[in-house]
């Protein structure tokens, strides 16, 4: 497979750098700083030290014996990103970007957040490196995700409520970009997923690729071979890309990116940008978007706040276009069932985001032979979701 993206950040026809001129120089500077850091052994060493001693990597690749037995088909392995410091894969990326910010001499960082996982992961690395931190978060999400707001505040971050638009993730990202336009000289914007203008999608992908790289090593050690199937949920797409990318050239491996179908693709309440969106430009890149006929972006919906985004990383759009990855969907209801299933079968409460990946694996595993191997990216823990599930009597 051709190496992507090109030097302007294009993955096929997707990606790119659709940004206001005020930001363009900063994006180019970032791209160059990142390229230099990539080549720098010290940087790579530093990052891998923090990943290990601080974030707790490598995360286990756990054979879910009871789940496998209950489903009666392929062997199921879980890549345990839920065990990372702060509770999800998000820290893989924020550690990388914060180290880069430090290298670039930036003392302030900003980020957008929806569920609050990326906000917490950013506030965390900001504290770790003594940086000032501002997190943009929709007012609606602040209400829904109070525990993560508390965590960010305790970590010393300023949580900036965003009331524009629908007061959710998309608007938080808009507001973060606006703030960045005003503060770009001394501020590093830590984007939380494989979205945004070039070089973000590439950079986030690379920082998250530790997931797939470890998985490859681990499964070969455990099973002596590659998995047959990879499954990961797709919000912006960072955990999925982190898992898929290192396996992209292994032609025999089937990959499933699971989008949130919310109340169903036949309703307007979902977040399935690839399955039900059209190509467009938002937040600096060209990709699949939920939008109306006039190019106005629609609100996304999912029970999993972290999937609640109307776009998707441009490299996923590309993988879809070349049919390398199958993008499928799972409804709220199916995700909640999978959430409960894993909790009861394995004593692991998954994030509702990750439950989408589990739900899809639960559909295909029973139809696969017992010697086949599925690896699911368990992108985060579900502590944050427990209250919703119980209080809304979803179980």
């Amino acid at each position: 497979m051709k190496n992507q993206p090109d030097k302007y950040g294009h993955f096929g026809i997707f990606g790119g750098r659709y940004a206001a001129e005020t930001l363009m120089p900063a994006l180019i500077e970032l791209q160059e700083a990142y390229k230099a850091a990539q080549k720098d052994k010290t940087f790579r060493k530093e990052l891998s030290c923090y990943q290990q001693d601080y974030a707790g990597r490598e995360t286990p690749l756990y054979f879910a014996a009871r789940m496998t037995k209950a489903l009666g088909g392929a062997k199921i392995y879980l890549k345990r990103e839920d065990l990372n410091h702060t509770g999800s894969h998000k820290i893989n990326n924020t550690l990388g970007q914060a180290l880069l910010a430090r290298r670039m001499g930036k003392k302030k960082v900003i980020a957008e957040t929806g569920a609050g996982q990326h906000g917490v992961a950013t506030a965390t690395v900001a504290a770790l490196f003594g940086m000032e931190c501002r997190i943009f978060m929709g007012e609606e999400d602040i209400r829904r995700q109070a525990p993560n707001v508390f965590r960010m505040k305790i970590l010393g971050a300023q949580v900036v409520p965003v009331s524009s638009g629908t007061a959710t993730l998309k608007d938080a990202m808009n507001e973060a970009m606006r703030y960045w336009v005003s503060s770009v000289r001394d501020t590093f914007y830590i984007i939380g997923t494989t979205a945004g203008p070039h070089p973000y999608p590439q950079m986030v992908r690379n920082f998250q690729s530790v997931i797939g790289k470890e998985t490859k090593k681990q499964i070969r050690k455990i099973a002596g071979r590659n998995p047959d199937v990879l499954v990961a949920c797709v919000g912006g797409g960072s955990n999925a890309m982190g898992m898929f990318y290192p396996f992209r050239n292994e032609k025999d491996i089937a990959m499933y990116g699971v989008e949130a179908a919310g109340h169903g693709l036949n309703t307007s309440q979902h977040s399935a940008s690839i399955n039900a969106g059209k190509v467009g430009v938002l937040h600096g890149n060209k990709t699949y978007l939920l939008q109306d006929d006039h190019g106005q972006v629609r609100d996304a919906y999912s029970i999993a706040a972290g999937l609640d985004y109307p776009g998707v990383g441009p490299e996923h759009a590309y993988f879809h276009s070349i049919k390398r990855v199958n993008y499928v969907t799972v409804t709220d209801r199916e995700a909640v069932a999978a959430f409960s299933f894993l909790s009861l079968q394995e004593g692991i409460i998954p994030a509702l985001e990750s439950a989408h990946a589990l739900a899809y694996a639960m559909k295909i595993a029973p139809k696969m032979a017992k010697n086949k191997i599925i690896v699911i990216c368990l992108s985060g823990r579900g502590d944050k979701d427990a209250q919703t599930i119980i209080e809304e009597k979803l179980l």
């Binding site: 659709y18 206001a20 005020t22 363009m24 808009n174 336009v181 770009v184 190509v279 430009v281």
Partner: protein, 264 residues
């Protein structure tokens, strides 16, 4: 020569500075937008920037964001805006720049857009999130249609990049006078002077300065430095504040003529 270049030409001859007014199409309605344009032309506006409302205007401050939301609620579409301009052209030759974000244009279809814009009498286009690196997909059609592709230069741009942008721009160069979003800070004259002097050395194109200009005093001061000034949020705010005022058009026209006076 395009209507835009012609306008700057005429103004230069008169030693006048161009007054460029931005307003969001469809706020409070496309009909009123049309009325406002005509009244502003009469009041002395030289060029109009017609904002295409977008759901996610990441370079705009609260005033223009809110205007876009109102316009979208009214059902304003790019097709409707083009149609309104087409009607306008029957009575006015004021240079018109369509100003907006790329997605509504992309969704409309870039080729279809260029042809329609040409037909309806659009003179220039300024797409906030379409830097030179990505511009080809629009310009391959809009250049051919004779529509000026106007670019922004920001305080952060840097001289090598300024040169590159200037070389690719048509119509005029829009110098963004603050490091920030629209309507959120007052420009600093001394900084603008340095930047505009530098830009003028690398291009023959007229340079207009915008973002944050609201008063006749600011207009005069900045007018002395550049070929034109752009006023946006101040007008959009005035439209919103007078939305229920039967004198809306008159109020806005009065403001425009006061600003224009400062530029003569």
């Amino acid at each position: 020569m395009s209507r835009i270049s012609e306008k700057f030409h005429t103004l230069r001859a008169k030693k006048e500075k161009a007054l460029i007014i931005y307003l969001t199409a469809g706020d409070p309605s496309l009909a009123v937008t049309k009325e406002l344009i005509l009244a502003m032309e009469t009041a002395g506006a030289d060029i109009l920037e017609i904002g295409i409302p977008f759901s996610d205007p990441t370079a705009d401050g609260p005033v223009i964001q809110a205007a876009a939301q109102r316009a979208l609620k009214n059902g304003t579409t790019l097709a409707g805006i083009l149609e309104m301009i087409g009607e306008l052209r029957q009575v006015s030759q004021i240079p018109i720049v369509l100003f907006g974000y790329f997605n509504p244009i992309f969704a409309y279809g870039t080729k279809k857009f260029a042809l329609a814009a040409q037909k309806d009498g659009v003179d220039g286009v300024l797409v906030v999130d379409l830097p030179p690196e990505e511009a080809r997909e629009l310009r391959q059609y809009s250049d051919a249609a004779g529509i000026d592709f106007i670019s922004l230069i920001a305080p952060t741009t840097g001289s090598a990049r300024e040169r590159q942008i200037a070389a690719q721009t048509a119509g005029f160069i829009y110098y963004v006078s603050i490091t920030g979003i629209t309507g959120t800070a007052a420009p600093v004259i001394a900084d603008i002077k340095i930047a505009v002097d530098r830009i003028e050395k690398i291009t023959k194109l007229p340079v207009a300065v915008g973002f944050g200009i609201a008063t006749p005093e600011q207009a005069r001061e900045i007018g002395l430095l550049a070929d034109g000034i752009v006023i946006g949020s101040a007008v959009v705010r005035m439209i919103d504040e007078n939305r229920n005022n039967p004198e809306l058009v008159k109020v806005v026209a009065g403001y425009v003529s006061k600003i224009k006076q400062a530029l003569r």
